[in-house]
Every structure is written in structure tokens, then in C-alpha cells.
């Protein structure tokens, strides 16, 4: 899966260049994130989901498993959620375990 990485002053921003994180993409997404994190030393990750318009439970599971893998010393924040993606996080109450920012700029202003 195609990711764009950018090292910012307070974290590594990871932009997902795909419209869907579903069962077809979940494993590739997880692998791509792990590859990105082994080549970039980041204390904080900001996952930019602006281009993603659908996340299914497999995709959600992949994001949660990355968070678990990183542990509390390397927080992963989310930003720029489309309405349909935002709904998934609220419906599953995952909005209570992730910090969600309206866009990348506001994510970079905090933390």
C-alpha cells in the first residue's frame, strides 16, 4: 500500500494514499506501516486519512493492532477523517482510545 511519509517537528506524518482500508488492503496496510516505522524513528505518528473514504472492521482492526504494537510510548494520532470513516470510529467507540484531529495542521499544533 502506498504511504507518504513526512518527518515533522513533533511527529512522523503518514498519509495513506488509498481510498479503502478493507479486508483486501488491511494486511498490506499493516506491513507498509511496519516498514515505514522501521526506517523512520518516530516518537509520535500522525496517520492522515484524508484520502480514505471507507474503513471496514478489518481495516479498523489493523489500525488498532498498530496502536497496540507501538505501545503507549509511541502514540498514534489520526487526522482528516472523512464523514464515513469518522462514523466507524465513533460507532465502535474507538474515538475514545485515539486522539482524532480535524486536519494535519491541527494535529501538528498539539503534542
Amino acid at each position: 500500500m502506498d504511504l507518504s511519509l513526512s518527518t515533522e517537528t513533533n511527529g512522523l506524518s503518514v498519509t495513506v494514499n488509498a481510498a479503502r482500508i478493507d479486508a483486501q488492503a488491511a494486511l498490506k496496510f499493516k506491513d507498509a506501516i511496519h516498514d515505514a516505522l522501521t526506517s523512520h524513528d518516530a516518537s509520535r505518528i500522525i496517520l492522515n486519512l484524508a484520502q480514505v473514504n471507507f474503513i471496514d472492521p478489518s481495516g479498523l482492526g489493523a489500525i488498532v493492532s498498530i496502536k497496540k504494537h507501538l505501545g503507549s510510548n509511541h502514540p498514534i494520532d489520526l487526522c482528516a477523517l472523512n464523514p464515513a470513516v469518522d462514523k466507524v470510529f465513533r460507532l465502535t467507540r474507538m474515538d475514545s482510545i485515539f486522539s482524532i484531529h480535524p486536519d494535519l495542521d491541527s494535529a501538528l499544533r498539539v503534542g
Partner: protein, 100 residues
Amino acid sequence: MAKSYQFSLATPLDVRQSLDRVMTDAPADLWRRYDLDICELVLAEALNNIVEHGHNPHGAPVCVTWRDRDRLQISITDQGYPCPQSVIDSASLPNPEDMP
């Protein structure tokens, strides 16, 4: 209004394409009156489960039908074997207090 589809589902990619077909076909009026984002989410999980756990005989069609009366009804029928009763009897649900 109602619409019915038959899909051959063997891989997650088949699920993605089938969902795309159903959602692209859905008339604008349906999008206005129902939360189809949530419908797509539920339908995705049901179809993924058929691929992953359904034991659907190879090539057997999966039928997806939606009906719009006073509410939106979606039915999904596969040709897989029924879940053994013993699996249901021994299953347990997680404690809601332990969930986020």
C-alpha cells in the same frame, strides 16, 4: 423499490467489487433517507465473513437483496453449511465493561 444481486465471492477483492457495485447502484433517494455508510460497513463485514468462515461451495452464488418499504431491509443468502449448534452453545460474549 427493491433490487437483487448475485455474486461469486471467493476473495476479499470480490467483496470489495461487489460492495462497490451495490453502493454505486443505490439511487440518490436511498442515500438521502438512510445512513448507507453504515449499511456498507455492515454489508462489508457480513460478506467478508462469508468469504472467511462461510464454507460456501466454490462458485456458489451469494445473493444480496435490498428492499425499501417503510424501512431498508437487506438480506444476504449464501450456500454454506449451517453453523454447528455446539459452536453456538459454547460461545461467549465479551464483557461490555471490558470494552472501550
